[in-house]
Every structure is written in structure tokens, then in C-alpha cells.
Symmetry: D3
Subunit: 286 residues, 6 copies
């Protein structure tokens, strides 16, 4: 995760939606009390240690409110930021900065929260072969940004959506009439660049999935010991993913059980927001 740059088109729609819902027909406080030509210098400052994510999104937001604003200091996405440090300094129209503030922070705080939690899981499994993955349990509208935040934290992505990978789950198996039928149908009909993964709930289902030609198997809600049994039984023939109930406390046990992939919903559905605030520089206003 060094130097990746998300194109604007990946997040412009959600940024516009967010600005519209916050500003609506106008910021009445700012319009009433801030002189229209007033300029300001604002600093975004970390109030808790975190892994930064969203700095380009924040710049986009400031630019939408003041196309002529400038950025004189900036930390990069993926950097570890200690509390108290400045993330970004922005100079521009004071009213514009005030109108952009909350929306920029709302993105930065959530994305940095996810990046921070991802890095904690990565650190907890250091030295093992296991990759930490996200899931599709993302926040509506933020899928691409959250998956980017996961990468900023040093973890990896699972598929982007229903369209770029086959994952046969319990409900598919029921509707298709069994594991073997489901796997065969996917191998026959999906394009040749897409691999087939199957979710299993027991070791017997694992055997069934292997027999039916699964390329990757997802162990659903297996405790670490059972995951180790599965890894032993598979012995490298297919990749193994675990999902369900993984915490910072037990993640290393899973990694040491020998699985290849550990996917964690809470990276995107319940990561606490990082604490970041924006301050107008006093010296500018004196």
C-alpha cells in the first residue's frame, strides 16, 4: 500500500451526496456571520493515534467548496499518525472551509477508523502466512473507499462485490440443489478468470466441497481448533478462508491454525471512528 491513488470517479458520487445532505440550501450560520472575502488557514489535527486514510477525499471536499484553496502540509494515506499531529493544512476562503469541515471529517474519521483497525489485525498475525481480508459488510455507498482503507491498513480485499468472484453460500446450495450441483454450474458458466469458493459449516461439508472441485473453501464460524483440523485435512490442496467471530484476541490463533485468509466484517461495519478535528489558526486571525 504505497502510493496507490484512488481516482475521483470512485468516490465523487458519495462525496456529492454527503455535501448535499449537510449543506442543503445553504449554511445559514456562515452566510450570516462570515464576511464573504474572509480567508483562513485551517489545520486538520489527529486527536487520537491512528492510521490515516482519506486525505485525498478531504482535499476533494475542500476543493469543491473553494476551487482555489491550497494545501501546504499533508500526510499520506497509510501513515501512522500519533495524536496531536497535523494531517493537513488548508488555506482558502473562510466560509468555504467552515462549510466543508464536517463532511471532510466525517469521511476521514470513518476511513481512518477502518485503516487503523485493519492494521491492528495485520499486526496481530505478523509472521504467519495468513492474509487479513475485508468482507461485503460495508457501509452503503462507501464500498470502494472502505476497501481502499483496508488496503491502507496493510490488509487485503476480498471480492469487490457479487460480480468479481464466486462465493457459494448456504442459501445458494439450498436453492441449487446441493454443493456439487452449485460448483459444477459455476465452473461451467462463469468466465475463466473467476475462481470458485464455497462456504462450508462442517468438516463433512469440507470434504464434499473438495470432492466437487471447489478451488477455495470458506470455513464458516469454525473455532480455531476446528480450523486447524480443516487445514490439516486439506493440506494445501485448496486455499482456506475463515470468517465469523474473529476478534483481535483470537485472530492469531486462526492464523496459526494454518488458514490462508481471515475475513473480518467488523473492519467495515463496526470500526470506531478515529478522532480528528479542524482548527482555524489563531495567528491568522489576530
Amino acid at each position: 500500500m504505497t502510493g496507490e491513488r484512488l481516482p475521483l470517479s470512485d468516490y465523487e458520487a458519495i462525496v456529492n451526496l454527503a455535501l448535499a445532505e449537510d449543506i442543503g440550501p445553504g449554511d445559514v450560520t456562515t452566510r450570516a456571520c462570515i464576511p464573504v472575502e474572509k480567508r483562513a488557514v485551517a489545520r486538520l489535527v489527529a486527536k487520537s493515534d491512528h492510521v490515516l486514510c482519506g486525505i485525498e477525499v478531504a482535499k476533494t471536499i475542500f476543493n469543491k467548496l473553494d476551487p482555489e484553496c491550497t494545501f501546504s502540509v499533508g500526510r499520506a494515506d497509510g501513515e501512522s499518525i500519533p495524536a496531536g499531529e497535523t494531517l493537513l493544512v488548508v488555506s482558502g476562503n473562510a466560509a468555504a472551509l467552515l462549510m466543508a469541515e464536517r463532511t471532510a471529517l466525517n469521511f476521514l474519521q470513518r476511513l481512518s477508523g477502518t485503516a487503523t483497525l485493519a492494521r491492528q489485525f495485520v499486526a496481530a498475525t505478523a509472521g504467519t502466512k495468513a492474509r487479513i481480508l475485508d468482507t461485503r459488510k460495508t457501509t452503503p455507498g462507501l464500498r470502494i473507499l472502505q476497501k481502499y482503507a483496508v488496503r491502507c491498513g496493510g490488509a487485503f480485499n476480498h471480492r469487490a462485490g457479487l460480480f468479481d468472484g464466486v462465493l457459494i453460500k448456504e442459501n445458494h446450495i439450498r436453492a441449487a440443489g446441493g454443493i456439487a450441483k452449485a460448483i459444477a454450474a459455476c465452473r461451467a458458466n462463469c468466465h475463466h478468470l473467476i475462481a470458485v469458493e464455497v462456504e462450508v459449516a462442517t468438516l463433512d461439508e469440507l470434504d464434499e466441497a473438495l470432492a466437487a472441485g471447489a478451488m477455495i473453501v470458506l470455513l464458516d464460524n469454525f473455532p480455531p481448533q476446528q480450523a486447524a483440523q480443516a487445514a490439516a485435512r486439506v493440506n494445501g490442496r485448496v486455499k482456506l478462508e475463515v470468517s465469523g467471530g474473529v476478534t483481535l484476541e483470537n485472530v492469531r490463533a486462526y492464523a496459526e491454525a494454518g488458514v490462508d485468509l481471515i475475513s473480518i466484517g467488523r473492519l467495515t461495519h463496526s470500526a470506531p471512528a478515529a478522532d480528528i478535528s479542524m482548527l482555524f489558526d489563531r495567528e491568522i486571525w489576530g
Copy 2:
């Protein structure tokens, strides 16, 4: 919070965005292995105790994938749901239900998470005059839905955005040249149905705000004891809001300090998702 109904136009854009990012050019698993005319009955089931929120949003999502699906059992937003209970039964095209599943759950889990946390704060302050409020620290794109979730939890909303209430904060005061100037400008320029609230960081600033004609005062990061001092000093002349650092542990202390309003960012920025899943009924598939 009885019987309120959110119009579709309030959330259709974010639902469409969420479906697009999950389904994209098609669900390859479902297309490959689910017969196109197959029908199914699915149940959304609570896996943890929570206050329900988002049931109409979920129905909307199922309807978008299968306009002829039907709902035969349904709990209402705002109800307390114990783990194990069924929230909604939906019958329809099997492929459509599978494609809608994750997006419906992503909304339900987050909104119910916020409603649940809101109710906990309300319960913690029962019997006091204090209202629990949300903030503008909402998830991008979900402002209206999250504010609705807060109401489902029995709490109240702060302003919807920058456009429907004046809240003069530290940065405004600096840019405007002082509290008195900022308040006077807002009272002169804003329409007559909008009240003026001012954020203060000390008791001295509180005095200054009162003198300048603030109608409501926000005590920023006051510990409970200091909030009590403020309440005593104000003695009912204006409404008092506290914000910053409020937790389930200390919220009652704030309420008993005599403030009128307690606003809590974590209701919308860090509420853990409720655990809800969707199951295809076995008897249907036998």
C-alpha cells in the same frame, strides 16, 4: 416514535448506490447456479438483542430486485427485538433474494445499531428532563436514515444540517471577530423561525454568550460538575446543551447536572452494527 414513515425519496439514492456497488454488472454466483424461475422464502432473523430500524428500507431493497415479492411477517421499526426472533419473512424469486440479501442487511444492521445505542442512552437518563440528541457526525449518505434511527431509539434530532439552525462554533467566532458580532449577525440575517445557539468552552464564554443574546448555549467538553455550574448560573434563562466525551457511563451525571440537551456523536459515527442474518427456509426447499 410510533408509526412514523420515511418517504422513499429520502433514501432511494443511497439504496441505489449500495445496490450498484454490490451487484455491479451482475451476481455471477447466482446467475450460474440458481434456476431463473426458482422461488424461495427467506427469513431475516435477529442474532443479537436490538432495537429494530430499517425494515422499510429492507423491503424497498427486496422489491427493487423482485417487484413481485411479498412480505408475510414483519416487525416494526422501533420495536425491541430479542435474539432469535424473525424480523421479516419475504417470499419471492430466489435469485433476487440472494442478490438483495447483503445490501438489505448492511442497512438494517447499521440502522438498528444506531437505534439500539440511542435507546441505551435514553434509558440511562430516564426520569430526567434531558433529551438525548444526535449530531452532524453521521455517515456520508446516511444522514436522513441515521437521524430516523435515532428517533426510532427514542432519542431526538439536532438540526438536520447547516441549513436549519444556527450553531456558532469556535471557528465562526474567530472568523466573525468575536461572539457578540457573530450572534448579532445571525439574529439580523437569519429568518425568524431559526434560533441561535452558541458553543462555549468556559464559564466566562458562557457569560459572554448570554450577554450577547444567545438563545441556546452548547457547553463544549464540559465535565459534569462544570456543566452543573453552568446550569446553576443560567438558571433556565436559556437552554443548555452538552457535547463531547459523553458515554453510557457518564451520561446520567450530565442529565442530573440539569442540562436540557445531550448530543452524542457516537450514536452515528461508532455504533456497533446489530447482528442480523437471512436464512432460506428449509421446508421450502426439501
Copy 3:
């Protein structure tokens, strides 16, 4: 109204709609007969005395057709312009200017018409405490621009829409089961920065509204004398607004009756358009 600047996002949608409906798949006259590289200098000229409004909107329109056009002379929104004066000089691609002309004028003429009428009402009430207000009787799609035009004319805005102020009208009262119930419900449920106004049709209803805790009362279609009675009865306890049947002829009578606010639908629904035209400079083409 000095120096306020409306952000582009407040009006870009309606500008795009207007350009699309006028230009559609192309200006066949211009494409047929204007050389593609031809440049021109055009002047927007007042053909009647008016208060200018919309100059930034016009610039936006010219810029959309020719991103490299330049503006060498420009009057500001809110200025009084005598007939014959130049409002704006624009240099750029001749075809682009021709394609932008009608749409730019359509905005300018309507907005200046509203600003002009607003200023006439303001002038007619000079020296009284009454504020001239607009209403929600705005032209579909032009709400924000028309409310800005009202401010350019020196008048004030009423609420922006249904979302930023409570105004309880006759139909609400019937549906809610009476004035007292309606007021109590609004005070209980609306956020603390929103005030409650009630419309009344008689002096008795005024008494009822006062008793029920209305903060502002709208006197609907009261003649000036009756408005004066209401003002005497209220004696400053609440703000009084009059609406309905206000003309340039009788507005001063209302203002002198002692009301605080006079709202006038015709500012936005029936203001005659200002007369403005665009001329290509002869010397440029010689």
C-alpha cells in the same frame, strides 16, 4: 446584501436543465453559419431600470459554453442599473456566446425582476420596523436563486422550505385536531433550533394561538386595520407576520400597523421580467 456569493452547486442543476432544453442536440443556426473559430465581444445591456441579480449565473452559463471566455466589465448583483448601462462584457467564441445568450438572459431577466420588485417593497416601507419577506410560492427549480434575488433587493427570506421552520396552517390544524394540539406536538418533536409559527384567520384564533404557545403568528389575509388591532392586542409578546393581498399600494399601511414581517408571494410568482439584451460589438466585426 453586500458581497454574498452563491455557490455553484446551489444552481448548477437548473442551469444544466435550462441549457439542455434550449440547445438540445445542437444550435442548427449557429452550426450552419458561424465559422467555428470566430470570436466575438458581447455586451449585456439593461433596457429598463432594474436591480441586478444573476450576474454570476450568467457568467457560469457563458463559461459552460466557452470555458475560455473572459469577462472584462461587470456590475454586481444588488446594484441599481439604469436603462442603457452595460452589465457585463464577455469575450469568447462567437458560436458559444450565441448559444448561451438566451439562457443567460432568461435567468438574468427573471432574477432581476424579482430583485427589482423586492426593492420597491422595501422602499415603500422604509423607516418602519417591518421586514419584507418572500414565500414558498417560488418558481419550480428556482427556489434558491429567487430567495437570493429577494436578498439582492434588500428584503429578507422566510424559511427555505418545509424543513427549516414550523408554520402551522389551517389544513394542519384540521388534521391535527386543533391549534393547541398542533403547537404542542411541534414543540415536543421539532429540534430546539426551530421556532413555531401559526397561521390564524381571526382575532379569536390569534388569542387561541397565543394561549397555546405560538412563538410567531401569521395573520392570514387581514386588512391593515385588523392587522393593527392584532398588533395592539399582542403588544410585542410574539412576532406578527401578515400575508395575503399585500400590494405596493397597501404595504406601507401594513408596516405602519405595527407588524414585524410582511410576506409577499408576488415577489417570486408574478414579478415582471427585467428587460435586458445582448449585443455583439460592431467594432469587433468590422
Copy 4:
């Protein structure tokens, strides 16, 4: 104008824009004080004599807020409505009707205003061959609806925009290098279903346009007597249009001068709004 029906796609964008700007994140009055299941019957009533236009638009708006509302009485677009008559009765959810009211009226009042003024001009020229036309001086976003309103009033449309007819004006002539060049270029390059009209300011220019092959000539700001001279000189060889300065007082003089077409900007830029209001039926609420 009997029975024409405008497709929804012709006006849905502007209806959505209008509803969004009025309702925004919600109608706080209605949400606070109207029970969610309350039903009502509302009547739209003419408060001034007018030619009706926009009844389908109004129905669309009520339907958007309450897809199950029903309409039990309705007058048709193009009908003359005396003050006091009911235009439409709508039954549905009370909150929905209240939220739709202002937007529905804003369309109805403006469109009926234009239809009414159009019919007055048509009546003033009864018995002559002259057609009353609109212009491109329409309200941004309302082009299609206003042109429909003109037809409802019994008048005719000029071209819909820059794309469906050639009208060579003074600025084109200057940029193209003369009338003859401009006409020749348009005849050579435009498709064979589009006719070429030229604007002239003097009788000499009229001669020049005729010599250059204009199919229709627009007499710009000719007084009636001069228009009659032009008509005599042309003697039916081309169609003649007059534009500029036409009023209800002088329109018959133009018609009797022998011109074919009289185009009138004020039909769409300055027609006063018709007075229409919505009432909840008292008996329903008793």
C-alpha cells in the same frame, strides 16, 4: 388543444427538483403534528377566473407523495374555470397531501397563468389569420410545460429550442458576414425538414432577406403601420412574423396589418400567476 397528453418524462426532472427544494430532508411541521395514518380529502379551488393548465402535473405530484391517493373530480387542461370552481379532488394520506400542496400549486398557478394570458391574446385577434406564438423567453426548466400551456390557451408554439428551426438574428448576421451569407449557409447545411427564418429591423433589410432566399421573415420591433407596409411589400411570398412590444392593446392592430405570426415573450416570462388554493374538506375532519 383537445385531449393532448404530455408524457411524464417531459416534466419529471423539474417536478423532482421542485419537490426536493421544498421538502428537502422532511416537512417538520407535518411530521410533528399529523398522525401518520390520517387520511384527508383535499380540493383544489380556483380563486380567480383562468384557463386551466397543469392538472396532470399536479396529479403526478400528489402521486409521488402518496402513490395510493385517488382523484374523484377533475377538470381538464384547457378548460376555462370561473373563480370558485373545484379543479380537482384528491383523497389520500393527510401528511402526503400537505407535503405536496405548495409544489402542486406552484406549477398549476404558473402554467394556468400562461394559458390564461395566451387565450386573451388569441381572443384579441379572433377572426384574423394571425397565429399567436410563444418565444424562447421561457422560465429555466419549464420550457416544455410552458409551451404546452401556450397550446392549452389556444395559441401556437414557435420552435422548441435552438435545434428545431433556423432563426437568423442580428448577431448571427454580424458573425456570419451578412444576411446573404448566413441564409446560404443555413440552407446548405441544415437538414431538409428545417425552414430558415431571418430577423430584420428595417424594410431595406426585409428586401435583402427576401432576395437572399429567406422562407420566413421576423420583423423585429416594427410598429403596426410599418408591419402593414412589410406585409404589403411581401404580398404572401413569405410568411411574416412580428415580435417585440406586442401587448393586449396593440395585438389586434398587428393581426390586422396582415402578418402571419405574432410572437409574445410575456406569455412565458411575465404572465401573472393564476390564484388557486387547496382546502381540506371540513366534513371529512369533523
Copy 5:
């Protein structure tokens, strides 16, 4: 067709749609293996002889992916390009160029294919008075661009859509109750800048159309000899268009039959794509 420039607004929607469907949530190959700051110089090269069309569209696409890319060599739309020649050299971010490549080529190849075929038809009718026209059989979403490509090939456009010309076809005649009724209704109701064309299937219908006042007649699926008979019978009183079954082999026979207009669906529905590819310059990468 020298120097015409299509405004961006005429094709931006389809460009955005095309980029979205190709790039979706990201180019996984490029993201994985191209260093984010890597720059490249790419050349678009003709691999078959063709008439170029779409060079500005291609530039727009590269600019959307890299707003700072530059173009150092460029051929113009409408030029004949021999195989092997460079059409455009673009320098910019390597990842951006790779992501834009396919979409840019997809536009260029199709539009150049249409321009090339159009020029072949024009060449085949050189020296006759007949104009080669397109039809409404265009590719969904590409109407404006394809009609521009037809002009780039030296041919002419028919009407842009249903809105800018009357063409009465068999189905209209049936629904209207006969040719005469249909023509009369169109002449009475359409604006004065729109001419009326009628499609006929036999010489008898041609007579009927002439008698009823058609201004242009479309001979539907007439073989060349019959078209010549029609031309003789009409003898210049109206314009004649032929359509249906026209090929490069028989088009000259139609032109020499004396018709004015020859419209050809395959220009836009079946023109083979031109062969164009993009190469990264080797010397840049050594």
C-alpha cells in the same frame, strides 16, 4: 465538415457510462502491477485506412483519467488516414492511459467506421445532386456522435429525432385515417419552421401525397427505375428522398434517378469498426 467542434455536453453522458462499465470499481491489473507515478507516451495508430472521427472524444477520455495528460500530435476529425499513421500521441500517467485505452478505442473505432462508410457513399454519388443522409437507426446513446460522424464523412444528416421534423409514415397514416388527414393535421399544428415529409410505397400514394400538400416525399423501398419514374412525375415540385435497400453498389443508380436525398440506415447500424490500436512507445520505457 471543416473545423466543426462538438461541445462536450453532447457526449459526456455516454462517455461516463462507457468508462463506468469498463472500469467499474477499478482496473485490478493496472492497480496491481503499474507503479502509481509511472509515466508513459502512447500512440494511437491506424491499422486500416479510414476517415477519422472521434479524436476529441478520445482526448476527453484520456483527460478524465489523467487531467494533466498532454497531446503532442493529433490528426483532425474528417481527415483520411492511411493504415500505419499515428492519429494522436498522448503523454501522461501510465496507469491512466491503460485504463482509458479500451474506452477511447471503442469510440474511435465505431465513429471512424461510420465516417468511412459515409465517405464511400458520398464518393459513389459524386457529381450528382443527391445528398447522402443518415437515419434514426442509430446506436442507443450515440445518436449525436454518429450524426457528427456522418458529417465528418461528408454526408448530411436527416432530422435529429422525432422532434425536429415531420415524417409521416405508414403507421401514422393508418392511425390518422389517411394521408390527407395526416398531412393537414401536421401543417396545422406544427410550428412554421418545420417541413412535412410523407413516406409512400407506390406511385399512386405519391400522387396522393402531392395532392395533399406534402413538401417532401420519401419513396420507401423503391427500386432505382421506379425512383426515376417518381422523379419524372414530380418534376421538381417537391424534394424526393429514397430509403431502403440502398447499397454501395446501387447508390449511384438512385442518385442518377434524380432523387434529392438518399438515406442509408447502415451508416449507423452496421458500419464495420475501423481498426485502431494504442501502443506505448518503446523508447520511453527502455
Copy 6:
């Protein structure tokens, strides 16, 4: 390809774009000469043998113009239709059917053209193991529909876009610094459900790709004999795809050379449109 059903959301945007560009501000012919309440029965009829594709798209289009139209006969996508057969009978408002006709046919003709050509390639390779694939050389805006048409013809899809499969091409290799580096980077960074394909131009590059861990290899512009050599050398270790210069004449030679996948750009960039027309039933109108 039996019974697959494309969700409306997959093509609604391009349908709306196509209707807008054809109908614009209104069908002037239909409005002028078709009575507004007139009903009609129309038949879509094959005028050439083809494989049908797009019947649901066509229904969508008729429904958009007349939400109450009904369909009484219908053939299914994927069926082989001989010339002369009826594809669909639609009953509804006559004006609506006329306005929908061209757009419906434009989709049907193109999609059926692609399905027809796909089936010809499939037939030409019957009995071999080779799959016929499409490419990303699709028509802008029609990607999903064209890929569906390919499936209707019995062929298979390649990846949907840049996001659901890795295909390392010459330009990537140059920018990445060689085949081995590019493959390694993709295997390390892409998610575990995505396979890595590499394009090679020579047998030496094939060896290099195999050594570097390619999972699938694309032979670019290999003649059939050279493809056979490649297949022999690979001997089943990886899948082989050929692309470039494949025609109906030589496709069987490629299939018999032993490759697994044959991708063909002309399926989507140059398939001739199928000939389909719409007729109003005479007996209905008598």
C-alpha cells in the same frame, strides 16, 4: 442460455438515454396527427432469419411510453427466428407505440445481430472443446446488454471489464518492467478469486509466461498452425486463449488447434444488425 433474465437496472440508463435522444421535447408528427386516445395493435416482425435478443428491453421501452400496454404474443431471447415470424404483439396507445418504435427496434436489431453472429461462431466450432468468447470491444453504453446477447447466442463471456479479471497485455508488461514482474505483482495484490491471464505474441513469450506463473495465456494474433504449436507445448498445463483475426472461415481451424478459448471482437463491434420491423395491424384500423 435458457431462461436467464437481465434485471432492469442493468440497462435502464441506456434505455433512458436512447429515448431522450430520439424523442427529445416531443414527437411532433405524432402529436400533430394521432388522436390522443387512439389505440393500436402492433407486431414486431422478423425480416431476416436471426437469433432473437432484446425482447425484454423492447417491452421495457413500450412500457415506458405506455405503462398500460399489454403483450399478447412473445418469442423468447435466444430463440432462432425465421424471417416473417412475429416476435411480439403489443397493444396500447397508438401514439405511445409510434414514439417507442424506433428505439425498441434499435436495441432489438443490434442485440439480435450480435446473438446471431455468436451462434454462427458456436456452430462453426461444434464438437470441439473451444469456447467462443466476447471481448471488451463493446459499444459504449451497451456492455452488459451485448454480453447478454453473446450468451443468448450460446457463446460465453470474457471478463466484464477491467475489474473482474487480470489480463496482462503488452503495454502492462512494458510499464511493469517485464512479464515476470507483472505476474508476480498481480498474484500478490489481487484478491484470491481472480485468476491471472497474460497476453503473449510469440512462443518464446509463452514460455516466459508459463515460467512466471501465468494461469491462462492469451495468444495474440497467432495463426492457427502457431496456435497448435502453442497448445502442444503447453499440453494442458494452463488454459490457452486466441484472439485477433478470427473469422467464421478460420475459427474451426483455431478450435481444432486445441485452444480452450477463442475471443472475437467483431461479435460486439461489427455484427450487422438484424432486420426487424414494426407493423400496425390493418384489421384494427379498418
